[in-house]
Each structure stands twice: as structure tokens, then as C-alpha cells.
Symmetry: D3
Subunit: 248 residues, 6 copies
Amino acid sequence: MLLHLSTWPEVETYLSRRQSIILPIGSTEQHGPTGLIGTDAITAEAIAAEVGRRSETLVGPTIPVGMAHHHMAFPGSMTVRPSTLIALIRDYVVALSAHGFRSVLFINGHGGNINSVQAAFSEVYEEMRAARGSDAPSLRCALSNWFMLPGVQAVQKELFGDREGWHATPSEVSVTWAVHPDQVRDAPLDPLPETSSTFFDSRDFRARFPDGRMGSDPALATAEHGRRFIDAAAAEILGRHGAFLDGA
Amino acid sequence: MLLHLSTWPEVETYLSRRQSIILPIGSTEQHGPTGLIGTDAITAEAIAAEVGRRSETLVGPTIPVGMAHHHMAFPGSMTVRPSTLIALIRDYVVALSAHGFRSVLFINGHGGNINSVQAAFSEVYEEMRAARGSDAPSLRCALSNWFMLPGVQAVQKELFGDREGWHATPSEVSVTWAVHPDQVRDAPLDPLPETSSTFFDSRDFRARFPDGRMGSDPALATAEHGRRFIDAAAAEILGRHGAFLDGA
Amino acid sequence: MLLHLSTWPEVETYLSRRQSIILPIGSTEQHGPTGLIGTDAITAEAIAAEVGRRSETLVGPTIPVGMAHHHMAFPGSMTVRPSTLIALIRDYVVALSAHGFRSVLFINGHGGNINSVQAAFSEVYEEMRAARGSDAPSLRCALSNWFMLPGVQAVQKELFGDREGWHATPSEVSVTWAVHPDQVRDAPLDPLPETSSTFFDSRDFRARFPDGRMGSDPALATAEHGRRFIDAAAAEILGRHGAFLDGA
Amino acid sequence: MLLHLSTWPEVETYLSRRQSIILPIGSTEQHGPTGLIGTDAITAEAIAAEVGRRSETLVGPTIPVGMAHHHMAFPGSMTVRPSTLIALIRDYVVALSAHGFRSVLFINGHGGNINSVQAAFSEVYEEMRAARGSDAPSLRCALSNWFMLPGVQAVQKELFGDREGWHATPSEVSVTWAVHPDQVRDAPLDPLPETSSTFFDSRDFRARFPDGRMGSDPALATAEHGRRFIDAAAAEILGRHGAFLDGA
Amino acid sequence: MLLHLSTWPEVETYLSRRQSIILPIGSTEQHGPTGLIGTDAITAEAIAAEVGRRSETLVGPTIPVGMAHHHMAFPGSMTVRPSTLIALIRDYVVALSAHGFRSVLFINGHGGNINSVQAAFSEVYEEMRAARGSDAPSLRCALSNWFMLPGVQAVQKELFGDREGWHATPSEVSVTWAVHPDQVRDAPLDPLPETSSTFFDSRDFRARFPDGRMGSDPALATAEHGRRFIDAAAAEILGRHGAFLDGA
Amino acid sequence: MLLHLSTWPEVETYLSRRQSIILPIGSTEQHGPTGLIGTDAITAEAIAAEVGRRSETLVGPTIPVGMAHHHMAFPGSMTVRPSTLIALIRDYVVALSAHGFRSVLFINGHGGNINSVQAAFSEVYEEMRAARGSDAPSLRCALSNWFMLPGVQAVQKELFGDREGWHATPSEVSVTWAVHPDQVRDAPLDPLPETSSTFFDSRDFRARFPDGRMGSDPALATAEHGRRFIDAAAAEILGRHGAFLDGA
């Protein structure tokens, strides 16, 4: 059940029996010479939809632009400041809690978002505590980063070994191709750059990773692999957060 | 050409000949008993895509949640504060201008966004002026509200007369059905409430408009009408902003 | 009754029977070679005072500096960021609502303020909703832009035809001369520049409108015309907002 | 020379020989049973105008609402948060410095503003330093609180002795009557409350000072005294800041 | 009793009989050729500890970095913006008030902090008033600037006469040597610069005070003098704020 | 070399050969029935000092209060909002970079700080990129959480096995006792609560962890163990960040 394809009476009915919602969050940033700029949003949205389908949980709109300052040396990358992302997520959660939603699960496709999302949860908890004390609603926020789940990482290892890398990875590219089979890109890639995941600002990032990939070989991606990642991620998220989504 | 389905080298190539981009902005809010909560995002995205297609202009990610505090008395509505929306749009525009984008056209599906979007343009211009003076880039931001275009309003009048109303209108519902033919809702609607578009806060809004519609009869909507609105809106936006998108 | 010329016991008495207040808002910005920099504040204040007089409504202090970034290429113009103006109006409204004011009418003399003022109203409504839910006071904010009222525009058309223009107009200059008869300026004006009201940032504004006027001929202004505009504006504002000011 | 009664070419001419400006700042707050709510703005504006007249310095618009949270338990008082006032003053100074103003003197009528105004100066200096380093303009901001000037305090002592008090004082009331002779109020006043100037929040303030006065006897005020205070304040401000206003 | 060397059950016990707390605030900034960069934090912390010891009041953590933009032309100086310092102090006070602390006394070692600390108190009072009205807790915040206390200034005068100056003074240096006897510095100092305490931004500050001292002769400092200042300051703070700390 | 015990000429000399600085960050929050409220600041400061000593790196002031909203149900805990902590760290880094510091290493004692510190780094990088583009300084920020270092965790495992837990752990308590041997507390502790590290807001935290410990047995702590942890942490931080501190 997707929020944007629902009516308000349908949400009212849903809320009478469930108070949980899933929110996908991605990014709009370079993903190497062949990866789509929308990769992180596409993957988060697809996996969130799958989790929603299996658990009959409402799925809200995808946050398409995340915290990606480090990719700004590549054309087409967009970013919001952490402070903006915190304000945005705060507003989302405050709005949802007004309707009685009590469990909010963000499914995230981009490592750069993690700190800001978690900080936003603390910002909301603290604001509610300071403003309302013991009258604050029993709100619970959680974050799941699909690409970091142990079960998903096992599949990454099995399929791609040490060619998975950290950015523009064959696993995320596979998922985008499963969702958009018409968007497969085939471009000659330079040999794998030296593997390291350390960087500082956007200039430093591009100096270390000239074509945008971080130790990854996206040429290994296939749509079929993508379907397997969606399945593995959805299953593991439900295993970990199923009770949370049921309000337990 | 959609940004999220492009790679960074493709955007680099695009920027070598065009410096314009289109950004759809919608809302996630009640649209009456039969309208989809995602209506404003769906319509803005569809019309923006059509404008992008006809003019070969890049289309960026849709902002799915807008300024909709007045709909918060209906379950499922989401909202961001004006100050948050201003910060978000500021960040989008600052990021895009860093790559050399010079003309940014927001195509908007929700009246409640207008003030915040326009305020955000002023915030960006003023920030750039104050920080850089005469070194500021020649940035141009524009906003088109498709549902308020004279040509679109003529079609509204022709098809629906005074049953168009102001919210959960048959024109916007028609567009959502053209995009999502499987999402047609058919529910008995109360007689048309008295027509007025004045309201204050969300409690006042619901007191005046108990089922969420503002003087509208969405039962008149059809997918075919929706296609006509997409066409009319795209044509008029190009007529008005075509030169802008060409950098003239 | 002017707030700044009242005592607190007088306001206490007023509040026992009326809960409405009028707040003028203007701008401090160039108004062409002959118009006063304080034009928008002077006009808003004069018209607000007249509305207050006729309806026995309290009139608060004038906001003298508004959102006018686009005039910053002309010496003497001042501006506040939209985010600052939103914070300021939010504070004004929050303070007034603490005393029991329930209807706040801003009378505005400057087009550039509209988006920020309206955004501020939404910011206040949303803050009160989020913080207090159904305990929030029944606050009502409204904005009237005197120069855009149909009745006023009819007089503009009658007196000045298409020489009214959009900025440094003979109608607003007339009002300032009605208020300050000793401030009439007489300077040779260039022929009417080409008429268009589109612009982007302050550099672009000055490039399009080299002496600051936007298609206007302020040489047509007279103090007598000014008195007519004050009368027409006050009458129409009362017609539109009289019940609002009476708390109905 | 008043900014709001000037044109931009006149300001341009002024700037070619002087780069200083005076900005009055007041408050909108209770001033006891007989004092005007606009007292602090009226006094600051009158004294600033006199300083401007004597020194041929440009005087900008008065900030009418200041930081007055502690007066909020009395009807009609308004306040802005310190953070809002800092943002407002920051914007004023940034705008003026863009035109080449280099010396900005605030003449203040309200003790509650002092901390926020001084903090705003530091905020502007630090923002310019951080953003531009050694390229920052040589901006100089100063604050003069007319009611705390030694020469003014000598007159207070001479005329009112220990009945001057700290709020709703006969000296400030005198100035308002000099400016507005038609606004003299005559009401029976309770005996002088015990003299202390300590307080915490607005509830505490009203508990200590039930009618709003702080140890003052405004019944001693006269318009003639007011003229003497305007003269004394203007003379002393020029003595202290005359070289500053001359750019030395 | 120091908060950081207490456990939560010990604080719970303390709160059952006392609701006051002392918070030292300093700065991290140049103190001339021989003064320690941490001087203002060291002095505030030492004096606060002494006050806490004598009155059995809890002492919280020291704010080590304050508002010191004007010292930024000297290596090693740090500063926070006034707006940041206000937010920080607001958070401290809001957190403490949640546990039932009602009297919060800041003991301050740096003049540059005064405006921001006082503005922060107003920000907290106003936020609590606006959000909770008459339900707001009876919170009382106070500030004591040890170096400005009359009794302390008498000792300064007695020991150093007009060689005390305004920054990097022998009195504050003496206190740091009393606390850190191993940190005595002995460097040749230029003759006393001309005495004035006026300055604008950091560039202007260094132009006026080339080695960082403001009219002071820190060569007069001794650890023994420092002990005397700690004693004098603690005694006078207790004389002035003893009842406050007792909740009276 | 400690910044607060240095003079500005000493920092100037330091900067001529090194451009790195270490900043400890802790928290002020409950640490169970026997742990000190200042534990996280004490540990971070001690380990940072040791790293500074071994590598001859400058160590700045400790941030004593962190993001600890979840501990607010225990008396004496303090917290700052993530947005405040981000602003604070942003200001610290901006100030240091003005003097030429290029490598800033935060050594952190509290898990709740991690997201905000990392978000602050991104905020600074993005602000510098947006404001200065390619002219931004080559700033590098890094974070080391001593209690999560693999080498430290090996010692935790060796000494305490599964009684280490997640909060109020014997390892951190040991470090505080190594620093403050006079602060050893001995209180009867309830049996180990069930081990889980999941929680949401502060009310939920206390419901799950009634005495504040998270699966830990601080009775195992000794000062001697503490010295071993300081040594292990300092060694590992130098191993990981030694080149960073050398500017390589």
C-alpha cells in the first residue's frame, strides 16, 4: 500500500489497525560512468515497496535527494546540507505522528544519509521531550540501510567478491537494472582503482576516485542479480523490523 | 531526459550545450474521498516529464512533500514548514548552480507551495548577492503552476464549468488517472459544498471542507481528460518558458 | 487607535470587546528617480490608519523594511531575507496571540513581501498545530495588498491608464504625496521603458530597469490622487475584511 | 536627512561624501499605566532625528519592536526573540554595507535590546570574517543607549532624583510628550513600588512590578523636560560618536 | 560538588533539597604574549568551584569556548557565533530545567560572552512563555562576571592601579597562575600600549592592540594575587547570589 | 601541548611546522548507579591528552556536553540538540581553519555524538564548497571513537567478557578511575539486566534500562584497567591517524 496512491479515508482505515509506515530515502548523485544518478533512490524505493508488499505496511514518498556533498565534483550530483535534511525528516515525522503513526521505518539507499537521519531522530525525540515531557507520544523511529545488512553483504561477497567496492557497486547497479531494465549502460571502465573508502571533501573525493567509483566493478551487474538483492534485503529487513512494523 | 536515469558523463555532455533544468514539485496531502494523496506530485511530475520530452530539457527529481499544513486534519497528509521548504529548495538550487545550471524551472502541482518556492528564490538570490556581490553567477529561477495557467483554466471551464472548484478538482484527478489508470476510485460524494476558497489553519479548513474537497466535483474526472490537461499544460509552459529553457 | 500611542490598560479595555489588530508592512527600497525610498511603508501605514479609524480597530507598528533583494542594485535600498521576515512575523503573531488577539490583518504596500508574509502565516499555523494540536488558539491571519485590490486598480486605470506600471507607480507616489505634501519631487524622467514585470536577481533587475521604474510614469502623481487612493483602498479593505476584523 | 524621505539618487549623492548612517531602535511594550506602548521607539526616533539634523547624517527606518519578553504579561506588549532580532539587524547591516555604508550607529531607546544588538554586531563581524577573511569590508557598528548616557543621567537626577526609576521613567515619558503633546495621560498612580531592577521571566516581572513601572514616577514628566532630554542626548551622542559618523 | 564527578543518584538526592546549579563559562582566545589561551575558562572554573564549595552548590561543566570573534586575528583563538552560543545555553538550561533545577547561575570569565548569555536567557524565557504560557516552570537564570564585580575591581585597583587594563590583565593572569603554578610565562613585553577599550572587527582589534593586550601589564601577575582574586570573587558572588542559590 | 595552556605566540610557532589539532568530545550524562556523569568527557580528554603527548600534537578544549537526549530521564544528564552540536562543531572547525589548521581529529567518548559530529563535518565541507568553490581550504576532519576501536574492544573482551555491555561499561569506568582515583564508587548493583542495545526516546530508555546501565557490570572496573585502556586507545589512534596528524 503506497501512501501516494491512497486516499485519506483509506489511510484512516489503515490507521485503525496499524500505526507503522515505511519511508524510503535515497540520493541524487553520480554513480560512476555507468551507474544512474538516481541509483540510491531507485534501490531504496524498490526495496521499501517490497517490504511494504510483504508486510502490508504503508509506504510513504521517497526522499530523492540526500546528503551527498562529497559527490559534488561530478556533474548532476545534488545535495542537501545535514541541517536541511534533519529539518526535513523532523517535519515528516512530526506530521506523521500527528495522525497517530507510532513506528516510522526509513529504508535507506545511501551511506551519506545515515548520520543525518539518525541525528534527525534524536532531534525529534529531544524536541518532543522538551516541549511535552511525559505527554509526548510514544514515537519510535528506525533506520535500515539495505546495502549494509549482513545477509545482503553475504550475497555481495558471493556474487562479486572484492569487486563490490563502496560506491557505484555492482549490487546497487543490479537493483536499478532490475527496476529499469531499459536503462542498462555499457561503457568501458578503467581498471579497478585502488581500494580505500577514506575521503574528506568533494575535491578530495574526485582526486581519489577520478571516475566516481570507489573500488567497484559495476560491469558485473545484472538485472537478475538485482532481483536477488531486492529479495534478500526485503527478507532481512522484515526479519529485523517485522515486530517493529507490527507495533510490538 | 530524466536526471535520475542519467549518468554523470551524460549530464556533463548535456551541460556543454544546455544549462537549464526542470524540477517538479508536488505535495502529499488529502485530495478528498476519491483523490490520491500523491495527486500534486503525480501531476507535476507527469507534466514536467512532458515538457522535458518536448524541449529536450533535463528533468530532476520530484519534491514529493510540500507545504500543506492546512490539510493536516485529514489522515495521511504530510507537510513541511515553509522554512524547511525554503532551505530545501535553496540547497537544490545551490547544488545545481555549482555544475553550471543557470535556468531552473520548477513545475508545481500545489497552490500551497507557491509562497515558499518564490520565497526560496529570493533567499537564494539574496544569499548569492550578499556573499559574492558582482561575482555571483547569473542564476535564473522560475515557477510555473500548471493548474493556474490560463490555457489550462480554459479547459477546466470547458469541461467542468463551476464544478472544477479549488481542491481535489476533476482536472487534477483526471491527470492522476491518465498516469495511473489502475487507480480510479469511485465513491459516493456528498453534494457540492458551498464554494469558497478562504480558510485559516487546519482545524478551520476541515470545519469548512469536511470531506476535503473545496467546491469540486472529482466525479467528473476521466483519464482522457487527464491526457488533454497534460498536453495543454505542457504546450503552454513551453510557450511561456521555452526561451527561458533555451537560456535566452 | 494606534498601539504605539496607547497604554496597556487601554489595550486591556480594547481586548475585552475586540480581538483584532491591523499591522502595516512596507519596504525601504528605491522607487525610481523621484519616488521616496519609504514609499511602501508610508502608503501601508496611511491606509492602515484609515482602516483603523473607520472600523475602530487597533493598528500596530509598521514593519518598515521588507523583502526587497531585487532593488539592492540601487543605493539606499534595504532588504531582509525571506527567512528573517518569516521569523519576524511569526514572533509578532505569537506575541499578539498571547494577549488574546485572534484576527491579525496585515496591510501591505510591497509586492515583494507577499510570499514571505503568507509563508509566515503557514509557519505560525503549523508551529501551533504541531506544538499544541487541538489546544492551539483559533488564530486567523490575513493579508491585504492595497495596490492589487480590484477597486484600487480601477482607479489606477482611470487616472493613469497603462502608465501606472508595476513599480514606482503614480498611484503609490500619489499616496506618499498626500501624506507628505512637502516631499514632492520633480525630476526629468526618461521616456517610459519597455513594459515587462519579469526579472530575476538584483543585477538583472537593474539591467532591465535602469532608473528603477518598472513601466511607470510617476510624473502623473498628485497628492489629490493620493487621497483618492487612500479612500478607495480603505473602503475596499473594509468591505472585504470588515467581518474578519469584527471577529466574525 | 531621512532615508525613507529620500530618493535613491539622493542617497547616491550622499554616499559620495559620507558613509555613515543612524538607525533608531525601540520597542513596543507597556510603559506603566500612563506611558505609551510606543515610548521606546518614539524616543529613539526623535533623538536619532535630532542627531541626524545636527550632523547632516542620514537616518534610516526605526525598528519599532524589540526584545521585550519580560513585558509580555501586560496587554499590548510585543516582543521578538533575541535570535530574530539578531537576524534582522544582521540583514540591515549587510544590506547597508553593500551600498558602501561603513559606519552604522544604532540609537536605542530600550534596555532589553542591548544584548541582542551587540550580539548582532558580533554575528555580522564573524560572518564577514569567516566568509571573506581579509577581503571583508571595514565595517564599524556602534550602539548608543540614550537613557544611559552620563549627561542624560545627570539631567534625570537633577529633575527627578530617585523617582526616575528604571522603566516607564519620567524622562522617557517626557520625551514622548515633547514629540506627541496631544498624548499626555493623567491617571492616578499607586505609591512608588519598592525600587529594584532585578527580574527573571514575564510572570516574575509582573509579580514584582504590578502596574508595569519599575520604581518610577512618570507623573513628574513634562513636554518641556522632554525637549531638554532630546537636546542633552543629541549633544552627548554627537560628542561621543561625531568622529565615528564622520568616518574618522 | 561537581556534576561531572557525581552519579545520577547523587544528583537525585541533591535535587531533593536544592534546585540550583552553577555553570562556569569561559573562552579560548589569545591573552597577550604571556597569557594562556584558556585563561577565561580557567578563571571562571576556579571561581565557580570555590563558590560551589562554600555554598555546597552543584557546579556543572565549563563552557570552554565563547564568543571571541574579535581575537581571531591571533593564532589559536577560537570563537562561536552569538547565535550558536545562544542555542547552546538554551539547550543547557532546557535540559537542567527538565530535572527540576530552578536557579541557574553562570559564572563568566569573558566580557565577550555577556551579550550572548543574557540574550540566551531571554530566548529561553520567551520560548517557555510562548510554548507553555502559565504552565512554564519558574526558571531563574543569572549571570555573574567575576572580573567586573566592584569588590574585585577594588583589588585590581589596589594591586595594579591603571596597569590592569581590559584584556590579558594581571588579575586574570594571576588567577591562572594560582590554578596552574607551572604555567608561569616570562616574556619581555612592549611598553603599555595606549589605553582604550574601543574596537570593531578582528582586523581592527589587532591593528589597535598588536600583541593582544588591551592596556594591561600582565607582568604584574603573581599566583598569590590570584588566590586573593579567587577569594574576593567567590565572597562577593556569594554575597550577591547566595539567596538566589538557596532558591529564595 | 594543550591549547588552553599555550600562548598565541606558541601556537604561531606550532603552526609553522604542524597544522593538526586534536579535539576531545564527551558528554554529561548518567552512567549508572556508580559511574560518573562526566565519564565520557573524562575518558575522551585523557586519551586525547595521551595521543597529543606521544605525537606532539596540539590538543584543544574538550566539548563537555554532547547529544544525550536518551539519558534525560536520569537526573543530572544534560544534552544538546543535534542541530546545536552541528553548529558548535562547525564554528570550532571554521575558527581553527582560519589560523591554518588543516587536520582536525575529534576523539570521542560517547556513542550518541557520532552522528552529529559526522554530520557537522559534512555541513562544514558543504558550506565551504558552496561559498568558495575551488578556493576552499583543503580541510580534513576525522573522528575516532576510542571505545569502538578493535584493539580496545579486544581488551574489553579479555578483561570483562560479555559483562562489558554498552553503557556505563567497566572499561569507561576504569578510565575515569585511572584519571580520578579518588572518585571510586562502590554501590550494590542489581543483577545484569537483559542485554540489548535498542531504544528510542528517553522514556523508553529508562523503561528498558532502569538504573541506567546497558548490559554492563561496572563493578569490574579498576584504575589499573583504566590505564591499560588509555594506553591501548592512544596507541591504536596513533596507528590509524598518525599520518593524518602529520598532515600526510
